[in-house]
């Protein structure tokens, strides 16, 4: 079955692929990813995504993989000029893992390092659309850092609206 890489921009020779999106999704589910699902973006979700991203989402639906309260998202967000493709694993409404999969900008690649990405672990979304924990920036990579923060918020928001997010809410009540 072939099913990944939906929102990842097409790669060119100048792109740096740190991790294959297919491999990231498979690894998140111990090598056996479930079938992908689609989350359709309604007007309310579009407005919420617009709020956290600073621009409207590009598509009418988002593809994701979900199982037992966990979801995996492969999302693109522009740092300065070109999209950064990141993979985000959400476990019951909190970030379990976030990684840079494909980097296309000329600067700001330092965000791929674990010292930066581990700051997102266990972060949740507040009612005002902010992350529950502060993220320290990296000198010279400000726009990439902000792009990663937007991706993290968008993934958490999308998780809330997904089938698995509904499961998370039901379990927390």
């Amino acid at each position: 079955m072939v099913s990944t890489s939906v929102f990842a921009g097409a790669n060119s020779l100048s792109d740096t692929v740190y991790e294959d999106p297919d491999g990231f999704v498979a690894a998140a589910f111990a090598g056996s990813p479930p079938a992908p699902k689609a989350l359709w973006i309604d007007a309310e979700l579009r407005a919420a995504l617009h709020s956290v991203l600073g621009h409207p989402p590009t598509g009418l639906r988002m593809r994701y993989w979900g199982q037992d309260g966990r979801t995996v998202w492969v999302l693109d967000e522009i740092g300065k000029h070109r999209p950064i493709t990141s993979g985000v694993v959400i476990d019951h409404g909190a970030i379990e893992d976030i990684r840079v999969l494909v980097f296309r900008e000329s600067r700001g690649w330092e965000i791929r390092h674990a010292f930066f990405t581990r700051q997102f672990r266990d972060a949740r979304l507040t009612s005002t659309g902010q992350l529950t924990q502060p993220i320290d920036g990296i000198t010279g990579a400000t726009l990439s850092v902000r792009a990663m923060q937007r991706i993290a918020k968008a993934a958490l928001l999308l998780h809330e609206r997904s089938d698995e997010g509904s499961l998370t809410l039901a379990n927390s009540r």
């Binding site: 079955m1 072939v2 099913s3 990944t4 890489s5 939906v6 929102f7 990842a8 921009g9 097409a10 079938a35 992908p36 699902k37 689609a38 590009t58 598509g59 009418l60 639906r61 988002m62 593809r63």
Partner: protein, 253 residues
Amino acid sequence: MAVPDPRQEGRPPRPAVRAGHRLLGLIGVAFLIVLVITGVAAQHPGALGLDQRYLQSRSLLAWYGISAPDVAVMYVDQNTDYVQLGERTYRGQRRLHEVEGGLRGVTTIAGVNLVATDRGVWLYDAKARFIDRFDPPGAPLRLGTSDHAALLETDQGTFLADADFLNWSAADAPRANWVKASQPTEEQRRTFQTRYLDEVLTWERLLLDLHSGRLFGWLGPYVVDATALVLLIVAITGLILAVRPRRAPDSDQ
């Protein structure tokens, strides 16, 4: 009788300085007006819509050396033309901004419009709104259908989509109905090329090129640099005129 020291009284500015200052000032001000207007406008292209407004002047496009590429490929799906010119793909009158790569086929299944290029498959709804995209293994070669399901052949195999276009499974020797390209007529070619040229040159680019001088070729930036020097000279001569005392009234009169 003691001779007055000119260093103490100050020398009046020479007429040549005043005349030169005036002439350079007029030249500089003319350029400055252009630079200020274009500079301020170029600072806010989004707010002013300059990046979305296009100039259709063919003489201006000719000045830039811009011409329309030939139609690379055309497909007709459900009475709608899908055309690729250069890096652009059009669906009828509308440009599909998301699509990248060389067009490999177009088909519509269950109201979903699939546009395949050598870099992936883009999905659109009936109103040409982008749904999402699929990047298959390998480079797509052609698009088709098999029993009302989307079929994609890449250089790494053939893949059959499910009803939601979420899962694409490897398919061995399926019964395929591959999409075929069409040949545009001369009139269609001209129409497509006109459409292309109508959306090439933005006001933003024109103003930026006017601001930098690049509109006037390789010499333009040097002219702008020279203008900056003229303004500097005007500033310096203006300071000289301001600091030095004016000529004393003629005592004989």
